[in-house]
């Protein structure tokens, strides 16, 4: 069994409620922080821990905190990104619904470290049932003196608010999230300035993922070194992986970084192997936007070693033969999966979710979906495969926010690794098994 940090008490009955959470060591980090540590020392511990952002980009959290501007007399904000909408990713949902207090505790300790007196959780609208769970947890934290004025008599004040989004993937992009939180249309901002300088209401702001903030209590309680010891190299600590697709045991797993991909897919502790004893065909390892890899490439690195579940190992080989850990949305596809049809689903998603501000993403995502739709309808041509390739290349890197890249990479990688399947697909329209079309409300239906 690997080390568990976030889900260590997942199976304790009643852990969702305050009493049980507290009895199991909950809120100790707040006590330790406000009573015996300075803000600077806390940031230092987080730096030492090597914790990296769990929202997708893997940016070192300690550095992000260090960059936060601290002008005199200006409010600072901490915002938790709980918009989790990347297809294949459902780890924050699991954590927040099972152990809501770990997020509340993480936010209090982190706010103290950042000198923040107002913090927000921005949660996606579809997680309405978690809203009440979190609301209750926040209420309990207030009732027990962990939030509000003069926390534990230290003179430190913190208010924590929950804000419910309205169901847009783009509001997970941190600056779109801030716009939305301010009550505006959720369009990503043009950077610079970055949130650390001018974020929420123009004030210095840190935006962190749920899982990132939930790791802070362990770091404060046990020290940064202890966290850095877990995991492998620059991939310190544990990571929540949401495993889905053709596996025997889909679900959310907390893994210690550095276990092999093979182990993760085939061992009984995790995914338990491919469903119905079928063969593994491909994996999308970090949420729909990271490059898809065929079985051989996801299991071994270009140098022939076993690939590990870590930032570095998954990225080994660059985009030519590697991928990314991303948000930890691990989607497994068996030999029966059509890469073309899967790509259509992804392309449709990105088209639907593009905010439409910049031309390459707005027009390009729609174009790619239309071409894939044409293929699915059995009218695709070989030229369409080349055209898809060209379109994705024209979007990538030329947009305001990374959604453009996120839409381009799945297309690029699917064609890069499965080009022959695309060619087969357009050459033999009669062999297409699933006929799909749009109904009048633009919903995808299976005929």
């Amino acid at each position: 069994m690997g080390k568990k940090i976030l889900l260590a008490h997942d199976h304790v009955p009643g852990i969702q409620g305050y009493e049980v959470y507290r009895q199991n060591g909950g809120y100790a980090s707040v006590e330790k922080a406000v009573k015996s540590m300075s803000a600077e020392a806390l940031v230092e511990e987080v730096k030492k821990s090597g914790l990296r952002g769990r929202g997708g980009a893997g940016f070192p959290t300690g550095n992000k905190w260090n960059f936060l501007a601290k002008p005199e007399g200006v409010a600072r904000y901490l915002v938790c990104n709980a918009d989790e909408s990347e297809p294949g990713t459902f780890k924050d949902r699991y954590l927040m619904s099972r152990i809501p207090h770990i997020l509340v505790e993480g936010m209090i300790t982190s706010s103290f470290a950042l000198g923040v007196n107002t913090a927000y959780i921005y949660i996606r609208g579809e997680y309405y049932y978690i809203v009440s769970i979190l609301e209750k947890a926040i209420e309990e934290a207030y009732a027990n003196g962990w939030l509000g004025k003069n926390i534990l008599g230290s003179g430190y004040n913190l208010d924590l608010y929950l804000h419910v989004g309205a169901g847009a993937y783009i509001c997970g992009e941190e600056t779109a999230l801030l716009e939305s939180l301010e009550g505006k249309r959720g369009n990503p901002r043009i950077k610079p300035p970055f949130p650390a300088i001018a974020g929420l209401y123009g004030c210095p702001t840190v935006v962190n993922n749920v899982e990132t903030l939930a790791a802070v209590p362990f770091i404060v309680n046990n020290g940064g070194e202890a966290y850095a010891q877990i995991g492998i190299g620059k991939s310190a600590g544990t990571k929540l992986i949401s495993a889905s697709g053709h596996i025997n045991k889909p679900g959310v797993y907390e893994i210690e970084m550095g276990i092999t991909v093979e182990d993760f897919i085939y061992s009984d502790e995790y995914c338990g192997g491919i469903l119905n004893g079928k063969k593994l065909k491909a994996v999308v390892a970090g949420g729909s936007s990271v490059p898809i890899l065929p079985a051989d490439k996801i299991l071994t690195t270009p140098s022939g070693e076993k690939r590990l579940m870590s930032y570095e190992s998954l990225a080994d080989g660059g985009f030519a033969s590697g991928t990314m850990l991303g948000s930890g949305g691990f989607i497994v596809m068996d030999e029966t999966t059509s890469i073309v049809e899967n790509l259509f689903t992804f392309a449709r998603f990105y088209h639907h979710e593009s905010c439409g501000q910049c031309s390459p993403c707005r027009e390009g995502t729609a174009w790619m979906e239309k071409i894939l739709h044409k293929m699915i309808d059995g009218h695709g041509t070989i030229e369409d495969v080349d055209l898809l390739w060209e379109i994705q290349a024209k979007i990538e890197g030329n947009t305001i926010c990374p959604l453009g890249d996120a839409a381009a990479w799945p297309v690029a990688s699917a064609i890069r690794h499965f080009r022959s399947e695309f060619e087969e697909y357009v050459r033999n329209p009669n062999s297409i098994k699933v006929v799909r079309h749009y109904d009048s409300t633009q919903n995808l239906v299976n005929a």
Binding site: I190, S354, C355, Q357, C358, S359, A366, L387, T399, I400
Partner: protein
Amino acid sequence: MAKVTIDGRVIEVPDGITILQAARMIGPEVAPPTMCYHSKLKTSGGYCRTCLVEVTKSSEKDPRPMPKLVASCRTDVMDGMEVGNLSSPKVIEARKSVVEFLLLNHPLDCPICDQAGECHLQDLSYEHGSSKTRTDFERRTFEKISIGEKIQLHMTRCILCYRCVKVAEQITDGRVHGVINRGDHSEISTYIEQAIDNDFSGNMIDVCPVGALTDKTFRFKSRVWFTKPVLAHRNCEKCSGNVNLWFKGDEVLRVTGRKDQWGEVEEFICNTCRYDKKATSDWTVEGPSPVNRHSVISANHYEVFTKPTEFKLNDVKPLSIQEGDKS
């Protein structure tokens, strides 16, 4: 001061200006094309991506190239920066793609569009685009709608440059105009076709780079190249009163703001000047408007210019000024 090199041309510019502004200071040969940036509108730019450039050297201090092409209208210069515009094959390629993207959903029916002849997209595609289209998918279409009595919006032609939205935000008070929906379903809209009840709302027409927002009092009265632009002014209480009058024969068909070399409005004008002052006697004419020699409008511009008959320069003060004096 910052020393910047663009396409091999060196210029010293003040700190804090953008690459685009620096390029414009050098001249039109190195200035990237723009569709969404507008010098008189705060926070404009960054959307269309036609002005992308390659920064091959970030600055003297940090000589590394920037990893991606950047929007020159939203990227500040640094001392020692080296930029590739037309000299960068990557930029040419990216610009061509942007044109292709912008035309994917844009109708290619310039012959029936009122903007033809003064449309930035037409110029852009002529200069940077490719001559054939690679898509046969249906384009998105919308019904024409009215934004108040004087402005017509035809979303089918809109390229979502956000300029009119910025006008609504910054020139007019009260935000009643914005974007609804997402992605390529995005629509410029007012709340339920509400008139934008503001003296400066007409400027949305002037900032629109394409034929999406047009002046209903002018629509289809004439092709622009059959009209002659003339600089004129009047004493106006609301705006500077500096305008372009568009004559056909002796008749003023249209009043617009004056545009600079880059096609951007110099000073916003009020709706009274724009819609209600269409008699030559309302204006003091200064002379023919400068028109770029390459513009189709110039084709008709430099034939013998006859001054409108009922108006003589140095004549009595125009009516409007006398009215203005009374109040």
